[in-house]
């Protein structure tokens, strides 16, 4: 397991996050902006829905022919001079990357943000191998200074306020930034990382797309750190999930139009770069070697089960920006590599359901994530599928099973159910005065935070039957 499940339970982590008002402030600032920008970008693109259908069809096509495209990609990447590696698991992927680093006697590695890299536990693996790793994406740089994991797949440091970032930079930059405004701090990071970019032995990136018909990998960034990571060093390593394949550059563009609008509300990121093999003979710059590590890590398993549609995910982060739960608890409380709705589907795949059964349950199934997902992933349906599996496998707590069992026993017997609810509402009335119940045993989760309307003495069915009886009414 790449991501050891953090020790306190999900509920404990969530409560700690809820108590952290600074965290809430940070989340609101970023997700609020992201939501507004996405809405504006979609409004300005009337073809969005059609584009979304096309994007979905492209991903489905690739997923249906993944073997064909992976082989084609491998052929073309190899022909361009890259070396392609295959990894079944996160451990294999880590081993491949560290081996390349050690063989090259690398001392300093720069890395451009890649969630796949986080998924396979690359940061720790490099540290364990004694290799200095410098994160070059500004947000990754922030969390590296803080010794944290990403809390969002687009804005990994979104849980940090500017004031907190300033504190980290004052401690971590030489000279420290002169002021706390984002512009000054960005300048400070620019200065701090420059020498690292140019002094690295190896640059590691992820890939937003693997282009089958050229063998190129594609990164999209706003900062330009990916190119500064992948160009100066002697070796460029790409780690990518096997589902990142697209048939051609044109297919990548069709998906890019969706990805960027959904992620940041832009039309394209500032830099969309295709990396095809190492530098060509005579090229002015570029790495001498390029390695591409294709990672399965649970993906082929998803192909054959009810989570297949999740392989369409293009990692835009829109689902978490629009999630009421994410916006209250932030990314770390989820405890996996990927947070929010998509993470709640993926973490049980990656880390096992037993340790993460809370994630698919901690959701109101309100459907906003599916509504904004640019490739139409039915996230609530997939979360419900995990709930069914958790129920079938007996992972749901006994109290819930027992409670639901009694309820279902009654609900399956209408006459008994009516009797029970007639008695139930009268009993319920005993707990309140006036129109409200302020404290209710067994429903403490409700009444700890809100009042419960006190039911009238008679159920609808009871009253209805009486009125009909008086009228000599129908059925």
């Amino acid at each position: 397991m790449s991501h050891p499940i953090p020790q306190p339970s999900f509920k404990a982590r969530a409560e700690a996050a809820l108590a952290d008002r600074t965290l809430k402030l940070a989340i609101d600032r970023t997700t609020g902006t992201a939501e507004a920008k996405r809405a504006a970008a979609v409004a300005a693109f009337p073809e969005f829905d059609a584009a979304r259908r096309r994007g979905r069809a492209i991903k489905d096509h690739v997923i249906a022919h993944l073997d064909h495209y992976l082989e084609q990609f491998e052929r073309n990447a190899t022909a361009a001079g890259a070396k392609v590696h295959w990894a079944r698991t996160d451990a294999e992927a880590r081993a491949i990357v560290t081996r390349i680093c050690l063989d090259a006697d690398a001392k300093l590695v720069t890395r451009a943000k890649s969630m796949l890299g986080e998924e396979i536990g690359l940061p720790h693996a490099l540290a364990d191998a004694g290799i200095e790793r410098v994160e070059t994406d500004l947000a990754e740089h922030i969390i590296q200074l803080a010794g944290e994991a990403p809390s969002h797949i687009i804005w990994p440091a979104m849980h940090r306020t500017r004031e907190q970032v300033a504190e980290l930079f004052r401690a971590g930059h030489q000279p420290p930034p002169a002021a706390e405004d984002p512009a000054t701090m960005v300048q400070s990071a620019r200065r701090a990382l420059r020498a690292k970019f140019l002094g690295a032995d190896i640059g590691i990136s992820g890939a937003n797309f693997l282009v089958a018909d050229t063998g190129a990998t594609c990164t999209v960034t706003n900062e330009g750190n990916a190119e500064l990571t992948t160009t100066p060093p002697r070796i460029h390593i790409v780690t990518a999930g096997i589902e990142k394949i697209v048939p051609s550059t044109a297919h990548a563009f069709a998906l890019l139009r969706l990805l960027v609008r959904s992620a940041t509300g832009g039309e394209l990121t500032q830099y969309t770069t295709f990396h095809c093999g190492p530098k060509r003979p005579g090229d002015a710059d570029g790495p001498e070697e390029m390695h591409i590590v294709l990672v399965d890590n649970g993906r082929t398993r998803m192909l054959g089960d009810e989570f297949r549609e999740m392989l369409r995910c293009i990692r835009c982060g829109a689902c978490m920006n629009h999630c009421v739960v994410y916006r209250q608890i932030g990314g770390h409380a989820y405890g996996g590599t990927y947070p929010g709705p998509m993470g709640s589907v993926l973490t049980p795949v990656l880390d096992g359901l037993a340790g993460s059964r809370d994630l698919p349950n901690a959701c109101t199934l309100n459907g906003r994530c599916e509504e904004v997902c640019p490739v139409g992933i039915p996230l609530p349906t997939l979360l419900r599928a995990w709930r069914s599996r958790s129920w079938r496998e007996g992972l749901e707590p006994g109290t819930l099973r027992a409670g639901l069992g009694v309820w279902a026993m009654l609900a399956r017997r209408p006459a008994l159910y009516r009797l029970a609810s007639r008695i139930g509402v009268r009993a319920l009335r005993l707990f309140g005065r006036g129109g409200w119940i302020a404290r209710l045993p067994l429903a403490g989760g409700w009444t700890r935070y809100r009042d419960m309307p006190r039911p009238p003495g008679r159920t609808f069915m009871d009253q209805y039957r009486r009125t009909r009886a008086q009228k000599g009414g129908r059925r």
Binding site: T30, T33, A44, E47, R53, H61, A64, D67, H68, L70, W86, A87, R88, T136, D137, L138, A139, I142, W155, M158, T161, R162, P182, A189, R190, R194, F197, T214, N222, G224, N225, E227, T231, P232, I242, S248, T249, A250, F253, A254, R257, G266, E267, L268, Q270, Y271, T272, T273, F274, C276, G277, K279, R280, D283, A284, D285, G286, D296, T300, G304
Partner: protein
């Protein structure tokens, strides 16, 4: 079994229907790109001048635009640019044939890029009107870092290389061998990593200046 065999085997084992031929797959892939106009933004102004459409998009991203009649007018324009921004009269210049015979006047030009190069001049292979993007390809006379190290990135873009849409560039790419890097530059480097607020010049250039020329001579 190698990891490769295992992964490909698992994919095949998960397939519900028989594998299709490469031709059938390619045909389906091509059909997924049919009628591109239905799923991409139109140009503004519609069906107007590509240079106009490009300038509008790029301008909205914070790219500054200057129109020059030809390449010979570049050195004077550069002097003005460097002056306006209070930069020394010195410039890293891409070793492109197009810039070879120019009279640089008082601007000292060099090829090697300093880690904190203040300003560099490059040549775009083409531009894309839909997104206001510049395209550069790496090559012997086109270092990748020229587009990333300087604080001010000045790019010459010939109007006759402008393409309407991303698909048009993909079609162009499909006809030639891929360079090591093909890069679409869409506005100056920026970040929203601190509280979502937008700051320019994160690692790449904080200033992107495009010189649109009608011809190369």
């Amino acid at each position: 079994m190698t990891a490769r065999d295992d992964i490909l085997g698992a994919i095949r084992a998960a397939r519900a229907t028989p594998a299709r031929t490469a031709e059938a797959i390619a045909a389906e892939a091509a059909s997924l790109l049919d009628a591109p106009e239905t799923t991409r933004p139109g140009l503004a102004p519609a069906a107007g001048d590509l240079a106009d459409a490009f300038a509008r998009k790029a301008g909205a991203l914070g790219t500054t635009i200057e129109h020059l009649p030809d390449i010979a007018a570049i050195p004077a324009a550069l002097r003005r640019y460097l002056d306006t921004h209070g930069l020394p009269a010195s410039l890293a210049v891409q070793p492109a044939a197009e810039f070879a015979g120019l009279d640089w006047g008082g601007v000292a030009i060099h090829r090697d890029l300093a880690p904190d190069e203040p300003a560099a001049l490059g040549l775009a292979l083409c531009g894309i009107a839909e997104s206001g993007s510049l395209v550069v390809h790496s090559g012997p006379d086109a270092p990748v870092l020229l587009s990333f190290l300087p604080l001010h990135h000045i790019v010459v873009l010939r109007v006759d290389t402008l393409l309407p849409h991303l698909e048009d560039y993909a079609a162009l790419m499909a006809k030639q061998a891929s360079p090591r890097n093909a890069i679409l530059i869409t506005g100056p480097s920026g970040t929203t990593d601190i509280e979502g607020s937008y700051v320019r010049g994160a690692h790449g250039p904080g200033f992107l200046h495009v010189i649109l020329t009608r011809s190369t001579d």
